[in-house]
Symmetry: C2
Subunit: 408 residues, 2 copies
Amino acid sequence: MFKFKNIEGGVTAPLGFKASGVACGIKHKGGKDLALIYSEGPALTAGMFTTNKFKGAAVIVDLKYLKNGDNFRAVIVNSGNANASTGEQGIKDAEEMATLTAENLGVKKEEVLVSSTGIIGKKMPMDKVKKGIIEAVEKLNYNGGVLAASAIMTTDTKPKELSIDTGIKGRGNKTIKIGGIAKGVGMICPNVATMLVFLTTDASISKDALKESLHIAVNKSFNRLTVDGCMSPDDTVLIMANGLARNERIKPKSENFPAFTQALTFLCEELAKKMASDGEGATKLIEVKVKGAWNDKDAHRAAKAVANSALVKTAMYGADPNWGRIISAVGSVKVKFNPDKISLKLQGTSLIEKGKFVDYNEKELSVSLKKENAIIIEVDLHHGDKETTVWTCDLTEEYVKINAHYTT
Amino acid sequence: MFKFKNIEGGVTAPLGFKASGVACGIKHKGGKDLALIYSEGPALTAGMFTTNKFKGAAVIVDLKYLKNGDNFRAVIVNSGNANASTGEQGIKDAEEMATLTAENLGVKKEEVLVSSTGIIGKKMPMDKVKKGIIEAVEKLNYNGGVLAASAIMTTDTKPKELSIDTGIKGRGNKTIKIGGIAKGVGMICPNVATMLVFLTTDASISKDALKESLHIAVNKSFNRLTVDGCMSPDDTVLIMANGLARNERIKPKSENFPAFTQALTFLCEELAKKMASDGEGATKLIEVKVKGAWNDKDAHRAAKAVANSALVKTAMYGADPNWGRIISAVGSVKVKFNPDKISLKLQGTSLIEKGKFVDYNEKELSVSLKKENAIIIEVDLHHGDKETTVWTCDLTEEYVKINAHYTT
């Protein structure tokens, strides 16, 4: 694995990106709710979106714009209102958000993408949004990454951003940088679910290479993330590459493609872990590792069954080494293995070895579960050589509180 | 639909059944933890069990005994310890439970079935169980149904039993009766999950007919029940038919087969609803009805997606008509329908009509959700003529509390 250098700046770390985050009153409770990310030059852009049959208006608009064009200059994002299940009017509002942003930036309306997150089924307060866009454009700056990260939050307790220097050489003493901001944190499940992620890079890269690289990175990161098994209509991952590092253009077969993809994957994994740690009401990150699976699908299915088990998640919250719930979850899904051959480790402590129950110190393990912020569950199916990791968080009273009273 | 008369007695309502429930110290917190159901004559017995790859010792033993014989005299059931993931010793203990019960009853050991529910992975305290069995046999009586119902409870807050007079004529002035007891209430998901159900009837019925009738009833009731999407290694539904009503033997094609099956289905549905209402921490029963589906699988998949959605369940707990979460859940699974044509009703109030959003009084609906103990969600996919109903409950802080500290 390459080592990547963490740097400051989030989405504004790569060359030529500015950002801003403002409060325009979409959120009833106040706080920043409109983010703008802007590239000084045209940026090749690729996206991945929710697979939910109900798609938010912004997703529908972005899919159309991305079909018609490859290069974009900006993305405008609001939190507090998902602009989903809002019918024709919702589509018009999403397009108007792009148009207004483009006008204020002095670019073409087809060069601006749009994204929304928040409550489903409420009309966008366009008057507020209009004023907000003007302010967001005025406040664009090279250190705006962290403000944009704050402005896309909904029930997130902290902004999530990361930027790295990939070490891949550009022209002169430049190196390719990648930055990203993300928001979770409920309704999260594999296949990209209420989750917005915006990635920027100054890499020069071909369309094929950018798409492929994003696919690999998302499948190894956000698609392995689950908070509550629910999938939102608004999930979006966008990457903008403006080429300002002036490296030799990366193509799918070029030497630097694997390095760029590894760097992007690393960044996305770290953002995914940040999202799991900040899952609604979460007190702990849970990392579920499954190995020895017959194929990738089995590995993923078994890991997801454990990660989505309300009983496993509550047990981890209670620092309770209730391993019966873990193997019950594995046994409940269609996965090839012999239940008498399974191995299980919890926080490094071996509980089952090839079907044999190991004598372990329950109190000690419970104390260690209580102490740590990250819990690692390792299942070895001993039935093949495929493996995966899925990230989730514990299930707490706070999750229930947050979600029992979200709209009212 | 036939009308069935509710009668007293639970599993001891049908002729020739006795039952008891005693406290023998398996549960650390005390309380009844051993139930015995006994038939005065040989009872034709059929069972359905968990599909989890990890099966509890009692399930493994019952599967063996039911393979070798059709007629049974008793079933001994303990709560407080699941006798699951207990290896060879667990199997021995389960067999010994059957043997000891048989000895005390004066019947053959292969005529007694056994069932366990509770904590996974702990050795059965056989000394306590032995004493308990002696007491349970001594205390058998014709009014013991309710005591047996209490003794199989784990986190259930109330015993669940029901008995009905089917109205189907037996010899003389006898009519066929069916009784049942059940326990939930966590780790419940379709395909029979931590859930024990014991059914008795004095019907005379052939093996084929009993099996088929049970299959139909379970698929329309317990397999449509979900509390937390988790599946236990111990789930069991058993039915014992001792023939003492002396009716003309019911066969798969005989006139009374549909009536018997309807009666059994009705009883099982009512028990399933009792289980959902008493889901861990639940304050409300939620009934999810899906119609207009392309096929049965789609209907079930859509209904289950809604019923298992943590976001829907928390919203219902908060009496929050957050219908966006309902349609998001439907949209997240592989089901054929056009999202622009869907209809949705919540507690009888129309929210979406063929894709058009209906103006409704949010406050009024919220008040009605708060007031009622049962919430009905109706989704019409307008894509076919198949329909189903799935039962679940709301998700509350109490669910988390119960499950965060179950073993320790």
